[in-house]
Amino acid sequence: MRRRALISLTAAALTSVAAAHSASDAYLTLTGAAGSRTLLHGQWDIALRDLDFVLQVDDDGDGRITWGETKRHRADIERYAYAHLRIADDAGGTCTIKPTAQMIDDHADGAYAALFFDVACPQATKQIDLHYDLFFAVDPSHRGIFVMHAGDSIATSVLSPQNASIKLAP
């Protein structure tokens, strides 16, 4: 038994080098609402594949996630996702995140749940603090590809376990 385990690990170690693969990404975009210094609009694309690993979205286990299954898990998906995103104003006040819609967005590596939301901060703020830790506890190689649109300017950042908290000008 011990020997079998060794051999199987060996085969994996010796052949895995040449394989290269897609990894887990999510895409988070925030846009300042016109004429407001307290409101932001957000879109967060999260791979259905990744959501299935933590929430088992594929209810019937047939290896295919349908729109029906995704809709049934909408509340689960939102609860899970928004528990891993915190936004605060420069006085430390927590901004509320209000889900507005959930759709599907296609990326080159598969279908993503597109979560739309509004962010409302308690007071006008020069800077917001964003903390992101989606999937890091189960997959430290996950990355959040973040884009902030404020007027004509665009700021980007790659969110990772080492870069989970960032400061932004809305």
Partner: protein, 392 residues
Amino acid sequence: MARGAQPALTPAFRAPYTPGADSDVLQEVPSGTDPAVIDMRRLRRQFDATPQDLAAALQLAGAYVDYSRQIGDAHYAGYAEAVIAPWVSRTPAPAAALVTQATILQYRHQFAEARELLQAALKRDSRNPQAWLTLATLDMVQGNYAAAGKNCAHAAETAGFELGLACTGNLRSYLGQARQSLTMLQQAAATADKSAAAYQAWLQGLIAESAERLGDWPLAETHYRAALKLLPQDNFLLVAYADFLLDRGRAKEVLALLAEHTQSDTAFLRLALAQAELRGADAARYTWIMAARFEALALRGSDYFGREQARFALQLQHDPQRSLEMAQRNWQLQRAPWDARVLLEAADAAHQPRAALDVLAFLQQTKLEDPIIEPLAQKLRAQLNSAAGGGS
């Protein structure tokens, strides 16, 4: 959206949308009836129940790493990393946890970091066969053949004659001794435990590779097929066989072989190459999607696809200069025969034989046999010689 087989190939990249029917299939995922998935879930429950148990963590992480490699999906390597992270950060870290983490880093082509962990593991447990074997593999991938030979010898001491034979047999295929390599690997396969499918498949794949070094195409094909019979879903074997078919002008077979493997980036590149070869209706779309996937990888800061990106730039974007830059950067990291080949092809296409000097010297020194690489190297050497002669 097309149902089933090709979830990544949507008609066009459109704005976020609401699917029309509940029954619309959006995404394929590992099926809950797949024995590997059932096994991983069982190990996960075991691990969750006893998070302090190193053996449970290692078993689950090992299952994730195997699955990651099998289906060509890096997500599971990340899941494995999370499972063993508490053990890796412990002082002193258990050797077995360091070896597992090294395997994950190696998989992501973080070779220097992987090597450090393996050396740390061997300091703790100098008779860890997995650590010696993984180190030998790293050395082979990076072209450090003298070190690989020593580490294969350590592997033989600690893991047994049979694995040592396979390790050394594999090494010889890079040193102008492909005929000997073939004999040694065939001997290893003949004595190996027939019930260890993954190990047998690995040996069959190595035999096929050695046969390719010798230009014995029928033998190579026989062994690729034998390997795939044992592990039909294995991404590494599928991709190696697809490359073999592409070289033989059998692109059509590649489409059938990889139809269900669009999720893997390495498999997807071979599909895109086959589509281009066949001038299929989907060729442009595959190229476009492949480019988008490489862009997504660049966005997240991943840089371990040099070999694939060099091939993509040369054959699908028709940009030899870019291909050459990719191949040169890749050569600093990896020195397997394919890494040499993509660099020589790019240097040739870009009319820059001098850019191939390092690779040519490496080939001369190692005496690699390969019926595709050798003529290419000769051609570039002739160009260099005539340039030198013309200049004097």
